[in-house]
Symmetry: C2
DNA sequence: ATGGGAATACTCGATTCCAAGTAGTCGAAT
DNA sequence: ATTCGACTACTTGGAATCGAGTATTCCCAT
């Protein structure tokens, strides 16, 4: 159990080898052919590293080593019994137990007050426009595929992605509306902070003013931990 | 430019130092106090590595080195002008330009056919239950905080998380309904695949049968790339 | 006064990641 | 006939990651 279950690419490798023995390059080609590159991050460095780690853990084994002409060797790997068990267990876990992830946009939202609110409104508007286009494009290509007879099974991960994307679009629209009409809680203090930063006051002076003007609001910066 | 913009923890460090100079341990303490650990992944190893990389890139600088008693040194860092620019640019990017991410559940969904459909239904039901609980708990604690007067600004990233979580709950409910009533496209072939795997037929034989029984459907495995 | 747990402030090293590079092969077009 | 670009198949090295460990001090109850 050298490596924990970290990189889902390792799971994808197990799933492929569970179907059929193959060499690493063929794995990446197969994954790309089946459009798994959208849902599983593939890159050569990781792929070969991941294969070696699976080998060390006895989850896969070398079946044969081919050489044609002067090309590099191709090592064909197959799955072991332990590998099949690991695949089933890992996939079972991933499907049934949510894991906390850290999308970059979530980080950006939480650090957002470092920029002035009017700039942020601009930036979020751009993001919203981009995501609306992406959503429409995604829905359209999905619709065409379904109309042409593609079973949903083959693109369920894409449906999931679109569901989350739609939720983000709704979130951004609502958030922007509240920012624009000034009803967003904390906006006044946020704006004042950047007004004061544009002066040559020191940090301490700025905070003194803010605490004075927005006492109840700013007290919450330190009380955040009272709620979950 | 040693390290690109990879780890958002580096951005968080820039934001903190933009407000006030401090030593690494204080950064982690401040982030935790403000409940940023939910949106930015913090761990000591990464923190010290990230700080050093920012130092190498001239985005932060050493302000002083304190020592009290026999404790380890505390190095206090401050942001540089280049660091301020980098912070603004990076945050601007993150807020305005969507980046493709790879949630583990998306990978799991795309690899899901490796398990039998009835098992998957079970697993997704468990996930749905867990996410419904999480959603309710999250909404409740958020509601309490808002009722107690917390400005939304201080938990906007949490609102975003809840929006995505709600979307996942809806997606899972709808998906499960279609799976349960048998209307999900591709389900029959999927079920047959696992029926055949339970026999002692070879892989090639299994595929011959499946292609024969579900020709139009399975042809899509290789045609996936025709659509986006 | 003393033992134990929490908090402070890092350090370490084995593993993992990843973009870029390398190096051969093949087919089509100039 | 040969250049070109796309494909095949990996290698490399420098970063980044992450959990666990270390060592000290503070505080509080016994």
């Amino acid at each position: 159990m050298a490596t924990a279950r970290r990189n889902p690419l390792a799971l994808a490798v197990l799933v492929l080898l569970h179907e059929e023995s193959m060499h690493p390059y063929q794995m990446s080609a197969t994954l790309k052919e089946r459009r798994k590159e959208h849902s599983v991050k593939i890159n050569y460095g990781s792929l070969y590293a991941v294969v070696e780690s699976l080998l060390n853990r006895g989850l896969i084994e070398v079946r044969e080593t081919l050489r044609s002409g002067n090309r590099p060797e191709r090592t064909v790997y197959g799955i072991t019994e332990a590998g099949r068990r690991e695949m089933i267990e890992w996939l079972t876990r991933l499907l049934s137990e949510p894991v906390k992830e850290f999308p970059q946009f979530e980080a950006a939202l939480s650090l957002m007050p470092a920029l002035p609110p009017d700039d942020v409104i601009d930036l979020l508007e751009r993001r919203l426009a981009a995501q609306q286009r992406a959503l429409e494009a995604g829905r359209e290509s999905m619709g065409r595929a379904i109309d042409a007879g593609m079973p949903r099974l083959f693109a369920i991960e894409h449906e999931y992605e679109l569901a989350l994307l739609a939720a983000e679009v709704d979130f951004l629209s609502a958030f922007l509306a509240d920012l624009r009409d000034g009803t967003f809680g904390g906006l006044a203090g946020w704006r004042r902070l950047h007004e004061l930063r544009a002066t040559d006051l020191s940090n301490d002076e700025i905070w003194a003013i803010l605490i004075d003007e927005f006492k109840e609001e700013f007290a919450w910066i330190e009380r955040a931990d009272e709620f979950e």
